[in-house]
């Protein structure tokens, strides 16, 4: 086998591999470009002010495209989800990291991974058949397809992420901190709440941000379980429609390249920016914690 052939093969593959690396940048750029391009087409026909401050999302003939109800819905349901998932997640992570013995840890980790493996449609289905009726019974209302349902389901979806990242963060707190605290006479609990958790704070915040990012971007769960009414939400027992659900519902039927079509890209861009910011923040904080951790 000639050296020339081997050298050429080597060079070919080296170039091929670099090319695929560049393609990932191209992919991100492509997605961003597609969103912006179509959003611009939208803003050429409507007033940005109306979009960002409008209280009505009502496409149709001379539709109004106000994004506020969608944002309010998204905020409502994800805030509720975090309210449930953050304490549960962090406490579970603390337990797994600091109190569970090896055997229990070996059992719990697969449990969390299994929870994470459940697809969003299945969780949404759960909302329809179990949690929704449960909520309806509890509050004496017609049906349970509302923001509360969505919050519970989104909490289930974000929990594995929060638990995993938080557990890493708590575990990474140097043993010396804990030893110092115990040496001073504090017990395990005081150490946990006054030393370990505060020390792990940047990592915990990162865990929350990542969980939040997941919750904001979820589609099927909220689509199936929150009612999808377009009115501006009134409270947790109200039916809501998030940005993601709106795109999912309307994209299938909207005619190509109409204002409505572009409007959906516009809200997708808003969604993209929100998740980007949340994820970047989470990353920055995580980077920060890595410096102090190990």
């Amino acid at each position: 086998m000639s050296i020339r052939f081997r050298e050429n093969t080597d060079r070919f593959f080296s170039r091929l591999f670099s090319f695929t690396g560049l393609l990932t940048i191209a992919l991100l750029a492509g997605i961003f470009f597609m969103l912006v391009y179509n959003s611009v087409s939208f803003f050429l026909n409507t007033e940005p002010i109306d979009f960002f401050t409008g209280f009505q999302w009502n496409p149709g003939n001379k539709g109004s495209y106000g994004i506020l109800p969608l944002i309010a819905s998204t905020v409502l349901v994800t805030f509720g989800a975090m309210l449930i998932a953050v304490p549960l997640g962090i406490f579970t992570a603390a337990y797994m990291s600091e109190f569970a013995d090896r055997k229990l840890q070996k059992f719990l980790k697969p449990v969390i991974e299994m929870l994470a493996a459940i697809p969003s449609v299945a969780v949404g289905f759960l909302g329809i058949v179990v949690i929704g009726p449960g909520i309806a019974k509890l509050f004496g209302i017609q049906n349970g397809l509302n923001a509360l349902n969505g919050s519970i389901l989104l909490a289930i979806m974000s929990l594995p992420t929060i638990i995993t990242v938080a557990e890493d963060a708590i575990h990474a707190v140097p043993a010396s901190y804990k030893e110092a605290s115990l040496g001073l006479g504090a017990d395990k609990w005081e150490t946990l709440f006054r030393v370990t958790l505060p020390a792990a704070l940047p990592g915990l915040i990162a865990a929350v941000m990542l969980g939040l990012g997941r919750a904001i971007g979820e589609t099927m769960t909220v689509l199936m379980a929150t009612g999808n009414s377009l009115a501006f939400p009134d409270g947790y027992l109200d039916s809501i429609r998030t940005i993601t659900a709106t795109i999912a519902i309307e994209m299938g039927e909207v005619p190509y390249q109409t204002t409505h079509y572009y409007a959906l890209f516009a809200i997708a861009t808003v969604l993209f920016v929100i998740t980007l910011v949340v994820n970047l923040l989470g990353e920055e904080i995580a980077k920060h914690y890595r410096k102090f951790g190990a």
């Binding site: 990932t24 058949v129 638990i163 971007g217």
Partner: protein, 281 residues
């Protein structure tokens, strides 16, 4: 006394949370399976929907899911492995490399519905592939890319540098050292990543909503340019859009059970490979 209170409080919070989470999982699985497993029968798994989708089986949805997942894998795996090889074996720490890594991180955080939109704009419309299994498969492929790249890179990192040096010192080209030693040694980890990706993709609905999935199809698609049925979408339709939601509820339970069983099975396979791999390390 105060310390006792704290202890009890602490235990309630921590152990309570953990137990709650475990019961979530158990309850979810129990509820879904208890109503779903009775529905599973030979006819259900291998039969076609009948009577206007109110009876029958979900075979086309199972096949559709398998086929679209296959397309995803064929597309994303080579792409992802090549990119991971570039990052771990060739790239130095330059701004370009940093940008690539940042892109991958950002791509992994993008909501799946936006991938669906991108697939619609790129594959369905621009490339004129239309709503088809191919469009959906490619869209899911893009969605899986960051995960495959990350898991592959982790596996490549675990291969000790001494092996690479030994091969190169004998006069192998970098490609040959990768082909003959790095990839074979990283293979178990790579395969685990692929299996886990398949498990995720099988349950994804949002990216396929406008790129090719359908509910009413009479048979299994003959070509990749046709629309197809898929388990997650089938579940979605049965539980929300169907005319007689109550009647088909059992079918929905059966569908979700099959879907979760397939996903759990894939996860078990991945666990097993990872376990055997760690044993040999």
């Amino acid at each position: 006394m105060k310390k006792q209170k704290k202890h009890i409080g602490g235990w309630i919070l921590l152990l309570g949370s953990t137990i709650l989470i475990c019961t979530f999982l158990v309850n979810i699985i129990f509820h879904l399976f208890s109503k779903g497993i009775p529905v599973l029968s030979w006819d259900f798994i291998f039969g076609y929907p009948t009577d206007g989708m109110t009876k029958g089986g979900i075979f086309p949805a199972i096949i559709g899911t398998i086929m679209v997942t296959l397309i995803t894998t064929v597309f994303a795996v080579p792409f992802g492995i090549c990119c991971a090889l570039y990052l771990n074996e060739y790239a130095g720490e330059s701004t370009l490399t940093g940008t690539i890594r940042a892109s991958i991180r950002n791509l992994s955080g993008i909501p799946s519905i936006i991938y669906g939109l991108f697939g619609l704009a790129l594959f369905v419309q621009s490339l004129k592939l239309g709503t088809s299994m191919l469009s959906a498969g490619l869209t899911l492929g893009l969605l899986s890319l960051p995960y495959i790249i990350t898991t592959t890179e982790e596996s490549l990192k675990r291969v000790p540098n001494s092996t690479r040096e030994a091969a190169l010192a004998l006069g192998a080209t970098q490609f040959e050292s990768i082909r003959d030693f790095v990839i074979p040694q990283a293979m178990p980890g790579i395969i685990t990543g692929i299996v886990l990706t398949i498990a995720r993709v099988a349950g994804e609905t949002a990216p396929i909503l406008f790129t090719g999935v359908a509910f009413y199809i009479t048979g299994i698609p003959g070509s990749v340019k046709q629309e197809f049925m898929a388990l997650p979408y089938h579940l979605y339709m049965l539980s929300t859009q169907h005319q007689s939601i109550e009647t088909v509820r059992p079918l929905a339970y059966g569908t979700v059970t099959v879907l979760i069983l397939i996903i759990f099975l894939m996860n078990l396979v991945a666990f097993y490979i990872r376990y055997k791999f760690r044993e040999n390390e």
